[in-house]
Subunit: 287 residues, 2 copies
Amino acid sequence: MLCRTVVLGPGLLGGSLGLALAEQGHETVVWGRRPAPLDYLSNIAPRALRTEIDLTKASQDAELIVLATPIGVMPDLLECLVATKALAPEVVITDVGSVKGPIVEHATALLKGTGAHFVGSHPMAGSEASGIEAARKDLYTDALCLITPVPETDAGALAKVRDFWGTLGMRLHETSPAEHDQIVARISHMPHALASLVVAAALEKEPSWAAFAAGGLRDTTRVASGDPAMWAEILLENRQAVLVALRDSQDRLQDLIGRMESGQIEPLQRFLLEAKALRDTHIVPRC
Amino acid sequence: MLCRTVVLGPGLLGGSLGLALAEQGHETVVWGRRPAPLDYLSNIAPRALRTEIDLTKASQDAELIVLATPIGVMPDLLECLVATKALAPEVVITDVGSVKGPIVEHATALLKGTGAHFVGSHPMAGSEASGIEAARKDLYTDALCLITPVPETDAGALAKVRDFWGTLGMRLHETSPAEHDQIVARISHMPHALASLVVAAALEKEPSWAAFAAGGLRDTTRVASGDPAMWAEILLENRQAVLVALRDSQDRLQDLIGRMESGQIEPLQRFLLEAKALRDTHIVPRC
């Protein structure tokens, strides 16, 4: 049986987490600031799930707290939990944020000496949808969860967090916060930013040309339909690593333009062939 | 009943065309240089389809010829047809190429005074697969075909080509070769080149990081698994328009980097929001 878990934030990730835990019969509280998403969640959730609008009431008996708000809100929320003494002794706190360096550093420093422990997590689940209406109990099943301990991380807290995500059927991988942020900058944040760029470069001049687009443009730009407020926060939070990846992309674009200008087919073909080889070898096709 | 049609080139597009025509009972010849794809096609096609390895024999009685080879081969193939006097009087020739300016200009000049007529077509069907093994009889159904007449285009030939694609269940749209090439540079060729760039920028440094990628990177880069030889030819053939779109992308990337460097969330959010609005309004979701 899992320990008593409190999920802070009733969005796609927090709501799905609540549904998955309650489905398994685990006693779960989901906290949110506004009543509407909580009411919605109450109506669709199994009875093991309770919603709560008072942060102190929600958190005071928790053994595990999962921060599932937008990442920009997490530091304030943590500070609020500490200031209101809403944390039980030895509570373990984790999160679902897409950037790990800043939150791990902030939480580790903030919780030092309080008896509470923080372990950073990034369950790689979600979609271009957002909000409680998109929540589903199987969002985490079979997906990958990156866990980012640091040398100061409490071993018991780490074990608890591993168990927690494992119980939801996630595959686990541990890495440092810094490497995590470099990885996601390359495989997620930079590609997301360039997908938005492609939409604008393809359509801004003449939006009606979209009528001539086939599946290629639709798939290439799918992620650009994601929530702009959430993604702006993510990109800025991971600014340093994303900028490295974007400047690398800038160099590659200059190189590509040079190959096009040369009018020679061989260098252009090599550019496309190397990308195809990397993709066909390393990116798993849709099943 | 359609006129006697000859398809030159037994790849994904030519093979699918042969299958679709023969399925409707239309007498169809598919020509290719090598026996293997022709044998493969013979084995899976209805009886109305005949294959032929001799270009003159294949073409001499045709009323409609469809060039379905890689675009780099088309000019030589046309010259060969003219030089060997393999064209029946008043034959109509069209093609399936993704770039229209060069082939329309070349064919119109070459066929002047021969009695044969050329009308450029771009049936927007296909996928990242290629070759006869990927051919299927419904590839063209409900897809869009861009037809690119010029002032010199023969009205009867244009009507015949419209009828031809219409019989296969395609939606038709007419535009000039120059506008066609600008459209596809923006909605297809530039996005394709950037998808390849994203693969390299995401994975070249550390290919194993692909294990952490979710559906976003897979979809964003899907087209980069296309045939490099074919796409290098397309990009170079449409070099001028693609370079305009790539240089525009370069300006937009510089702008995006500036917004990231500023550390301000509002300009970054606006960048993402404008792309989302364009995409959600104009790009049709997968059904």
